[in-house]
């Protein structure tokens, strides 16, 4: 459960930082009158905070899956599956989608509607291509005889990529909705927040993919071996 606990420690550190600005040591029974809220989140839109909390939940979900992965892979019957070459391409694609969204956010902030639209459309294209690439990877693996139930390594591969893909699919739906919203709205400023939210979500899923990819290819294995030695 190392990955899950490590993720929670990270969240706890964030929470501690936030709480440190919340006057937890004040004596509320002494002061009367209006006290203005000064916390670090006070001026952030609720939707952004909401997305942040949601991403914490998604992060917990994947870190728990990774914990299960690392515990399961130590058992005797584990036999790792070959990594399809196309995963390198899809890794590039998901990073490109993130880059396109960085572009879209910058353009939306400057009020350049057309450029922002270009960025969103590019991100939607890269994102869809990513999903297509993942499906091709599945197809290749099944074709060469690595089926879901044959080995736990295969099961984890399909479940993890599937779960990540489902989140990507949700991100694509949001992207399309935001693109339509921006396309219809007269100025780019109105859609700035939704574009930022989309970008945040995609960056996070890109990060999750990089971690998953590192684990699946086995690079993370060395790191995990060190962790295990520390614990045992």
């Amino acid at each position: 459960m190392t990955a899950a606990v490590a993720f929670l420690v990270l969240l706890a550190a964030l929470a501690a930082w936030w709480l440190s600005g919340q006057r937890l040591m004040s004596r509320p029974w002494l002061a009367t009158g209006i006290v203005e809220d000064t916390g670090g989140l006070a001026h952030m839109p609720a939707a952004k905070v909401g997305l942040g909390v949601f991403l914490a939940v998604v992060g917990a979900l994947f870190s728990l899956f990774l914990s299960a992965y690392t515990m399961r892979m130590q058992l005797a019957d584990w036999s790792a599956l070959p990594v399809p070459r196309i995963l390198w391409l899809t890794t590039l694609l998901i990073l490109l989608a993130s880059a396109a969204l960085v572009w879209a956010v910058r353009s939306a902030r400057r009020g350049e509607k057309e450029r922002a639209l270009d960025g969103l459309l590019a991100a939607t294209g890269f994102g869809s291509a990513f999903l297509g690439g993942q499906l091709i990877a599945w197809d290749e693996l099944v074709g060469s005889g690595y089926r879901l139930a044959d080995n736990a390594a295969n099961s984890f591969f399909y479940v993890l990529t599937g779960l990540h893909g489902a989140h990507i699919l949700g991100g694509l739906v949001a992207l399309v909705a935001v693109t339509v919203k921006l396309w219809r709205s007269p100025d780019a400023a109105a859609a700035q927040l939704p574009v930022e939210l989309c970008a945040l979500y995609w960056h996070f899923l890109g990060l999750v993919w990089l971690v998953l990819f590192a684990v699946i290819t086995g690079w993370a294995g060395d790191f995990l071996a060190v962790c295990r030695q520390l614990l045992s």
Binding site: L24, A31, T32, G33, G39, F54, L64, D77, S155
Partner: protein, 596 residues
């Protein structure tokens, strides 16, 4: 950090907020069924959960009938008994306690107590309830599925949960897992609302340290639930794959009825880690809102400021953080590295410290208070007694050497029913009696309420206290009949029969509550806006019950914390949170300061 500097404390007019940001419902359907008003959603959650609660109570009756009078009821065979145990446990813990305390009370109290007009994402909030209802329907459907509901025990441990010896193996276990997955998806939507509304939706002047402890409890529990439920989600998804697609996440190599199954190499212990990574925080997901609510009930009905408010807040946060590093104390019997056992025993005992602080602070709040033995107060006091008792036996079980012999006995059943069954349920009753006047505008009947309290409190105590003794004798849990063994006397069966009779009486007494709840909607005494003369914002709404948007034209501004009871030199014994300092009536109070 220092106190609030005085120059920050400015006099400001209350904020006038446009009421337009909320979409007021226009039709009967959007008002009462597909409502986005947190208060309506709260009532939907509570009513649904109460229905499930009564079903689960009925299941426990059947279990007790079998245990008390084995062999008398032919339809309760071993398989049926396991199904009853499983459904009773899962329903009560997830679909009743979690749903009422977070979905029910969270939805009603968070926006009102922090002075918001509604939750920040009302649409997701509405979806949350409908997902919950769907999860409930799927769960109940398993009673009618071929093979009946699953009998895997509420912990659903593999491999037995999906093997053919376990009742409900055909479809019950699948429906259970799917229902949990849907529940968790729905809860996530609600939980985001509870957390972000506290973070971003507070009204002017409502700093975190001015929030009532109820909000602190529900807020912290929601954060924990958002992070803990994914563990159950992961475990459910993986077990569903093992069951449906023949993967071996959890399933080791097995021979069943002489045939070797296709499974191989999986780890049942892995499931236990995931399950209890959710399961232990779940105890506090239920307990923390209860702690918060009890603090407010005690302060209000003892007319005293809560003792050690800051300590109470810190304790809630400490318990929330610690509860994520104690999970393996549920797995001592599964075997583990002794160092792990030592670690988890230590964290388990450490968590008793902030919990004990809370108990002391409740007692010190009551000390020399102007205690009004109203029905909510009685339930709050009952909670303290029950919770201390259940918590103390938890200290026994937290130690590896004590847990190993007791783990599979009735002692554990007694412990967790005291601490996370009866104790939170007493709080739920107390809270319903307390906030009912705000929800309906009428009081619940007090005489009936007191009768309900005494039967429930004394009755449950009389049920579960002797159960510790049965456990110490060695009477095993999870057995559908006790059988005969040399280590316990024949009279142990008499104790079992006595417990069953009491369980029937206490269960039936809950109909008093149900009757009171329904009857008082029309026939209760008119309550007015603030019948308990309480300080927190929900009692200061311009209308009772509060309409959609809660506050009319003007959102309240908050000038003080939530516990200004019996402030010296003030003419009334409470000061509402939204009363500006210059409006506070000064002067001596009439001698009969309080009235009930």
């Amino acid at each position: 950090m220092a106190d609030v500097p005085l120059d920050r404390v400015a006099e400001t007019a209350t904020t006038e907020v446009e009421d337009l940001s909320l979409h007021h419902p226009h039709s009967w359907l959007t008002r009462y069924v597909f409502s986005q008003d947190a208060k309506t959603i709260s009532i939907q959650y509570t009513v649904t959960a109460l229905v499930i609660g009564f079903i689960a109570l009925f299941l426990s009756w059947l279990m007790r009938l079998q245990l008390g009078f084995p062999g008398t009821f032919a339809f309760i065979d071993a398989a049926a008994y396991y199904q009853l145990i499983t459904m009773h446990g899962m329903m009560m813990i997830v679909y009743v306690l979690t749903a009422v305390l977070l979905g029910g009370f969270g939805n009603y109290l968070i926006p009102l107590m922090v002075g918001a007009r509604d939750m920040v994402f009302p649409y997701a909030n509405m979806l949350s309830y409908w997902f919950y209802l769907l999860a409930v329907v799927i769960l109940l459907a398993s009673f009618f599925a071929p093979g009946g509901p699953t009998g895997a025990g509420w912990t659903l441990y593999p491999p037995q949960a999906i093997l053919s010896g376990t009742p409900g193996q055909e479809s019950g276990i699948i429906l259970m897992l799917v229902s949990l997955i849907v529940f968790i998806a729905g809860f996530t939507m609600g939980g985001l609302n509870y957390v972000v509304t506290v973070l971003q939706g507070r009204t002017r002047g409502m700093t975190l340290m001015r929030m009532p402890l109820t909000v602190w409890g529900i807020f912290t529990a929601s954060v924990m639930a958002l992070l803990a439920f994914p563990a159950l989600f992961v475990a459910s998804v993986m077990m569903l794959f093992d069951k449906l697609f023949g993967t071996s996440f959890f399933m080791p190599s097995l021979i069943e009825l002489g045939t070797r199954l296709d499974y191989g190499g999986g780890s049942p212990i892995l499931f236990q880690h995931l399950f209890w990574f959710f399961g232990h925080p779940e105890v506090y997901i239920v307990a923390l809102p209860a702690f918060g609510i009890v603090s407010d009930l005690i302060a209000t009905h003892a007319r005293r400021n809560i003792f050690g408010y800051r300590m109470m807040v810190w304790a809630i946060l400490a318990i929330g953080a610690l509860s994520f590093v104690v999970w393996a104390h549920h797995m001592y019997v599964s075997g583990m590295n002794p160092w792990f056992g030592f670690f988890f025993a230590t964290t388990t005992l450490i968590i008793a410290v902030p919990t004990a602080i809370k108990v002391y602070n409740w007692i010190l709040t009551l000390w020399r208070g102007d205690i009004h033995l109203t029905v909510p107060m009685l339930f709050a006091l009952g909670f303290i007694v029950t919770f201390v008792n259940g918590g103390l036996s938890g200290l026994f079980l937290g130690n590896v050497v004590v847990d190993v012999p007791l783990s599979d006995t009735m002692f554990v059943v007694a412990h967790f029913h005291m601490v996370m069954g009866i104790a939170p349920v007493l709080v739920i009753f107390g809270a319903i009696y307390h906030w009912y006047p705000k929800v309906t505008g009428r009081m619940m009947n007090e005489a009936l309420g007191k009768l309900h309290f005494w039967i429930t409190f004394l009755g449950t105590y009389a049920i579960f206290f002797p159960m510790h003794y049965l456990g110490l004798l060695g009477v095993p849990r999870r057995y559908h009949e006790m059988g005969e063994a040399s280590f316990f006397p024949a009279s142990a069966q008499m104790l079992n029969a006595y417990i069953t009779v009491l369980a029937l009486i206490v269960g039936a007494a809950q109909l008093l509550f149900l009757f009171n709840l329904i009857w008082s909607i029309r026939h209760g005494r008119e309550a007015g806006g603030n019948p308990w003369r309480a300080t927190s914002l929900e009692w200061q709404t311009p209308e009772t019950p509060p309409p959609h948007g809660n506050w009319g034209k003007e959102q309240p501004a908050v000038y003080r914390w939530a516990y200004d009871y019996n402030v010296p030199g003030v003419a009334q014994d409470f000061i509402p949170q939204n009363m500006p300092p210059e409006a506070v009536p000064l002067g001596a109070r009439p001698a009969s300061g309080g009235m009930s």
